[in-house]
Symmetry: C2
DNA sequence: CAAAAAAATGACTAAGTGGTCAGGAAATTG
DNA sequence: CAATTTCCTGACCACTTAGTCATTTTTTTG
């Protein structure tokens, strides 16, 4: 019943994926309005009409891509409980988000542009799952604070600041590269992660886990 | 010789200003490609051709606006010396940047979009003044560290993190509003500023100045 | 007040845009 | 192998867009 024809091995699924990859690159570089369907077609090496065949419209393709991107945001931090260690949980979360900025900068940029423009296609997401996720994480952080395991910071703002810093490395890479005179390599991201973990954890009265102390020197 | 006719009191200067204000609003909301000259004209309540009369092209208007925006970035922190107090200097800088995000969110968004798209019109700025500014600030921070007045953090990353957090409140306001269920008012910005000052200063081993401790309660 | 400069604007154009559609090719299926 | 579905594509269209240009109006100036 579910093995009809639209399975992943089919030619259609492969093309859809190719289009999504091309669209991610184009939208991240030129924005939604700044990207033409023709550009995506060129990038995907497919005729323009083929793009519109698989995705009903440019907007439909964009929304499909946005959904793909949102699913990338999941991390180990989603499963953390109040019995876990605050220092390690937060440090790992920061490290996970930094890894995302390094490995998926285009996704981060598309998300950033979407939010910058008022998040017209994310309002539903923001109003449901995201708020629930947030409430859960805030509750755990408050529990850690109540247990006296970390400084009494406002969890909401703490999470905002973690997002801001980690995403900054993807979204503002042009500025960072200019100021550093060179692009951020893997080792630079590792160093930035250590710096950020130290800053945030110290700011929360937490001890930095060993694995985030300066290593390879 | 300089008092010919193109002075600021003239009708032309007033219209240019009106156009820049309209353009800021439009570009911040819809991006460069997403904004038509007609939209700016409507917002400025001037005929479209009048826009093109004062600014040679849409791109010319955009670049002029970008320059205006860049000049807003100046702050007290530019004049700080190694003899100043690290805690107060950094706290004030953070507070200044938070004030900018509250009072000029549109400018912040336009800047963010420009950098997101690779900063094509800011590369010259990034390569000259900005790098020099950065080197000067890094030197002062390193001096403070050498004097043992703050923890040995990497000044470059510290500044990135300050920018990231402060600008986040302007650039990601749509997400923040959704998650909070209400917009950020003046009091909320003040609270966010206190939270951020505490986080960063504690993270740098500095004592939070009295004026940034929780007040009015 | 006349001449010159600055400001204003309606009509137009050329280029690019997202999207439709009809018809054909290829693959899948009973 | 015939039939049906999926896949593919060139031609085309309605519409928006930035920018030009010729002309007129307003302001400034000697």
């Amino acid at each position: 019943m579910a093995s009809k024809s639209k399975m992943d091995g089919s030619i259609g699924a492969k093309n859809k994926q190719k289009i999504l990859v091309a669209a991610e690159k184009a939208f991240a570089t030129y924005g939604f309005k700044g990207t033409s369907v023709q550009q995506i077609a060129d990038e995907a090496e497919l005729p323009k009409t083929n793009i519109l065949y698989y995705f009903k419209s440019k907007q439909g393709l964009y929304v499909a891509l946005l959904q793909d991107i949102m699913s990338l945001w999941n991390s180990r931090f989603d499963q953390v409980t109040e019995d876990d260690d605050p220092a390690e949980s937060l440090a790992d979360y920061i490290a996970d988000k930094m890894t995302m900025s390094r490995t998926h900068p285009q996704a981060s940029k598309i998300f950033a542009m979407e939010v910058l423009n008022g998040a017209p296609y994310l309002n539903k997401f923001f109003s449901n799952e995201h708020v629930a996720w947030m409430e859960g994480r805030v509750a755990i952080l408050n529990s850690w604070i109540a247990q006296g395991r970390m400084t009494a910071v406002d969890p909401l703002y703490l999470l905002f600041h973690i997002w801001a810093c980690t995403q900054h490395y993807a979204d503002f890479s042009a500025q960072i590269t200019s100021l550093r005179g060179k692009t951020m390599k893997r080792a630079d991201f590792d160093e930035a992660t250590r710096q950020l973990v130290q800053l945030i954890l110290s700011g929360c009265g937490l001890t930095v886990p060993e694995k985030y102390l300066e290593s390879a020197k």
